[in-house]
C-alpha cells in the first residue's frame, strides 16, 4: 500500500519534551545560587580556575592577528548552516552512508537514548566507554543505558571525577571545575578499587591513577559512545576535539562506535573546519591547539571501528531554529569561554543553572530548547542569571549576542505567565524601557544594561580591530556579586523558595 496519498499532517518545530534528560533543574536559579553563594569552598575553587583560564585564553587570543576576522567568519558560517540546516543534514546523511556509516534520527532525548541502547544491545555489549559529550549529558544517556542493563564508563578525567563522585557536571569543558585536588583525591581513594592507597593530591599522580583505572576498560571495550564537535556535510567527516587521548581510545579501539550529535553541529564543508579549529581551542582551554583532534569519515576497513552509527537529534533544536533571534544560540561551539568570563557563573557555579548547559549560553539555550511552560518553570528564571555586563559576547568565538538573547528570553519568561503578577509588571516595564530610548536611563541602573547596549554597539562601530582587541581580551571588571541576587530579591519577593 502506498502512503503517499495520505494527507501530510502539519509538522511544527518542537521544544524538547520534559521528562527525559537534563535540560531543567528542580529549583529556580535564585534559590540554587543563594545556596551556592554560601559555599565558600566552591567559590574559591571556581574563582581560582576561571581566573587561570581567562588569563590563558587572553594570551593565546592576543597572538592571533586575524582573530576578529575568524570570529566573523565563524558566525557567518553558523548563520548559513541555520538557513540550510535540513539540506545540510540530508547531505551529511548521504555522505556518511556512502562511506559505510548508518545514520539514525531522533526527535527527542528519549528516542535518542532508545536508539543508542538498541545499538549497544545489537552489538552484543553490556558496557560502553564514553567520550565526554554534551549531547549525551543532555539526554541523560548514562541513566538510560543503566536502566537498560548497560554500564556506561565516562573516560574523560573530569567526567570520571563527576561520575565517581556521584555528582553533576558544573562546566561545559571542565565538568569537575568545582572540585579541588584534595576533593578529587578523596573521591579516587573511595571509589577506585585498585588505587594506590598512598595517592597524593598532586595533579600528575591523580591523572596517572585515572590512566591506570581506565586502561583495561579501553583495551577491552567493544562499543564506544561519543558526541561530535563538528560534522562536515559534504564529506561526511566527523570530528572530536579533546585533550587526554581518551577520545582517541574510544574512537579507535572498539568494534562499534555510536556518535550522538545535535543537528546544529553540522558545517557545510571541510574547509570550514579551518575556522573552527582555530577558534575553539584558544577559546576553550586557552591553548593554541588542543592535544588531540580526531576526524573520521564512515568506516575505514582495517582501521578503527568497523561499525559506525551516527544519531542526529532534534530535542528542541527545531523550536530554537524557529525563533529568529534565538536561533543564534544554536551557533554555540561549546567552548565555555562565556562561562569563564561571567561574574554570575563565577560565583553561582554551574549546578545553580539546573540544566547541563550552564553559564550565559545555558541561561538562554536551556529555556530556548525546553520552551518556558509557565511561571513555575524553573527555566523561566535562567534568563535573569546575568548582570548583562556583555563580557560573554566579547569572549564568544562565534559572536553570539548572548546579552540580547538574555533580554529576549526575559521577555519570553514574562509572556509565559498566565496571570500578571508584580514580577510581570516589573519586567514589562523594563522591556518598554529597553525598547525606548527615552526611558532607557531608568532601566539602565537596575539592569546594568548600559555597557551592553551603549558600550558594546559603540565599540563595534567606532572601534574596529585592533582597538577592539583590548576589550575582547582584557579581564572583565567584575560587577558587585550582589547584582543578580538583588535583582531577584527585588523583583521576585517571596518567590525564591
Amino acid at each position: 500500500m502506498s502512503t503517499t496519498d495520505l494527507p501530510t499532517p502539519t509538522v511544527r518545530p518542537a521544544h524538547a519534551p520534559a521528562g527525559t534528560g537534563h535540560l531543567r533543574g528542580t529549583r529556580p536559579f535564585p534559590a540554587e545560587a543563594r545556596d551556592a553563594l554560601a559555599n565558600t569552598q566552591l567559590r574559591r575553587n571556581l574563582g581560582k580556575a576561571t581566573g587561570v583560564i581567562r588569563a590563558k585564553r587572553a594570551a593565546v587570543v592576543d597572538e592571533v592577528p586575524d582573530w576578529e576576522a575568524l570570529r566573523r567568519s565563524g558566525s557567518a558560517i553558523k548563520a548559513d548552516v541555520m538557513a540550510r540546516l535540513p539540506e545540510l543534514l540530508e547531505q551529511l546523511e548521504a555522505a556518511v552512508t556512502a562511506r559505510g556509516g548508518v545514520v539514525h534520527w531522533a526527535r527527542d532525548a528519549a528516542e535518542a537514548n532508545a536508539i543508542v541502547l538498541d545499538l549497544v544491545r545489537a552489538a552484543g555489549g553490556d558496557e560502553v566507554v564514553k567520550v565526554k559529550s554534551m549531547a549525551t549529558q543532555e539526554t541523560g544517556l548514562n541513566e538510560a543505558l543503566e536502566a537498560g542493563g548497560v554500564a556506561a564508563w565516562e573516560t574523560d578525567l573530569a567526567e570520571l571525577i563527576v561520575q565517581l563522585g556521584d555528582d553533576r557536571p558544573s562546566h561545559i569543558l571542565v565538568p569537575a571545575i568545582h572540585r579541588n585536588r584534595s576533593e578529587i583525591r578523596e573521591i579516587f581513594l573511595r571509589e577506585m578499587p585498585d588505587v594506590d592507597p598512598d595517592l597524593t593530591d598532586e595533579p600528575r599522580r591523580l591523572a596517572m591513577a585515572a590512566r591506570t583505572h581506565l586502561r583495561r576498560k579501553f583495551l577491552g571495550a567493544k562499543v564506544a559512545v561519543s558526541g561530535a564537535n563538528f560534522a562536515v556535510a559534504d564529506t561526511g567527516t566527523l570530528s572530536v576535539v579533546e585533550s587526554e587521548g581518551n577520545g582517541r581510545m574510544c574512537l579507535t579501539l572498539p568494534e562499534t562506535l555510536i556518535t550522538l550529535m545535535g543537528v546544529e553541529k553540522v558545517v557545510p564543508t571541510w574547509s570550514d573546519l579551518e575556522v573552527f579549529l582555530q577558534l575553539l581551542p584558544r577559546s576553550s582551554t586557552g591553548e593554541r591547539m588542543n592535544p588531540y583532534t580526531s576526524t573520521w569519515t564512515g568506516v575505514t576497513p582495517g582501521d578503527g571501528p568497523q561499525a559506525f552509527h551516527l544519531v542526529l537529534m532534534d530535542n528542541g533544536r527545531s523550536g530554537v531554529l524557529a525563533d529568529p533571534d534565538g536561533r543564534e544560540a544554536l551557533h554555540c561551539i561549546r567552548c565555555s569561554a562565556c562561562l569563564n568570563v561571567c561574574p554570575v557563573y563565577e560565583r553561582a557555579g554551574g549546578h545553580a543553572y539546573g540544566s547541563v548547559y550552564p553559564g550565559p549560553i545555558g541561561a538562554v539555550l536551556s529555556p530556548l530548547l525546553t520552551g518556558i511552560t509557565g511561571e513555575d518553570d524553573v527555566n523561566a528564571s535562567l534568563p535573569y542569571a546575568s548582570s548583562l555586563c556583555g563580557a560573554c559576547f566579547d569572549a564568544c568565538p562565534v559572536r553570539i549576542d548572548i546579552p540580547n538573547l538574555l533580554v529576549q528570553q526575559r521577555a519570553a519568561s514574562v509572556e509565559s505567565h498566565h496571570r500578571p503578577t508584580g514580577q510581570d509588571v516589573a519586567m514589562r516595564a523594563a522591556r518598554v524601557a529597553m525598547t525606548s530610548a527615552g526611558r532607557f536611563r531608568a532601566a539602565e541602573k537596575g539592569l546594568g544594561l548600559g555597557r551592553v547596549l551603549g558600550g558594546r554597539s559603540g565599540r563595534i562601530t567606532a572601534l574596529p580591530w585592533p582597538a577592539s582587541r583590548w576589550t575582547a581580551s582584557r579581564d572583565v571588571p567584575v560587577p558587585p556579586a550582589e547584582t543578580a541576587r538583588d535583582w531577584f530579591a527585588r523583583t521576585r519577593p517571596g518567590r525564591e523558595r
Binding site: 557567518a76 587526554e244 591547539m289 569519515t297
Partner: protein
Amino acid sequence: MSAPAGARGSAREEVLARLRAGRDAGAPRTAPGPVPRDYARRGAHDPGSPGALDLLVERVEDYRATVTRVARPGDVAGVVARLLGDAGSVAVPPGADRAWLTGIGGRGAVVHVDGDPRPLTTADLDRVDAVVTGAAVAVAETGTLVLDAAAGDQGRRLLTLVPDHHVCVVRAEDVVGTVPEALARLDPLHPLTFVSGPSATSDIELDRVEGVHGPRRLDVVLVG
C-alpha cells in the same frame, strides 16, 4: 534499512519537516550575505621556510615535547636510536622508512612492523615500548602534527595511540604556517589525527598535566 526502518524512517521525516518549518519561521528578515573569509590563510612564513621550521620547534617545545633537528635523512637513524634509549621493542607502520631504525639494530631491540606478517593488535601494542612514524603535515603556528592513517609511514590510528612513546619524523617540506594551509593538504576521507604535544589534561584545577591516555612522551625529529 532493516526492521526498525519504519519507526526510524518516520523520525527522519518528522525531524526534517520540523527543521524545514523552523528554518522558514525563524528566517532572518535580510538573508545573510556570503560568508566573509578575510582571515589569513597563509601566515608569515612559507611552507618549509626557515621561519616556519623555527616557529614549529618553538611551538612544539611549548607543549613539552622535544624536537631534534637534523640536516639530512641519513641523520635520522642516529637521533631515533638516541631517543628510543633502551626501548626493547618498537612498532612501525608498514611504509616507515626502514633506515630510520638502523641505529637500534645493534642492541637487539625487536621491531614490529604492522601487517608484517599480521596486523598488530591492541594487546601487542600495549607491550611495545615505542612507535616511530612519519607525519602528513605539521602546522608551525600551533605546533601541530597531523597523522594520516592512510599514509604508509603513519599507519593505522591505534599504532600511535597505545604505545607510551611516539617518535615522529617530520620532513621540512611538510611544515606549513597555518591551520588553513594544513587542511588544504589533507584528505578528509582518511582518518586523521591532529597531535599537539603529548596527551594532557587540565581537568584538575586547570593545571596542565602531560600524559594521560595517549603517549606520555612525544619526540619530534625534524629533517631538513
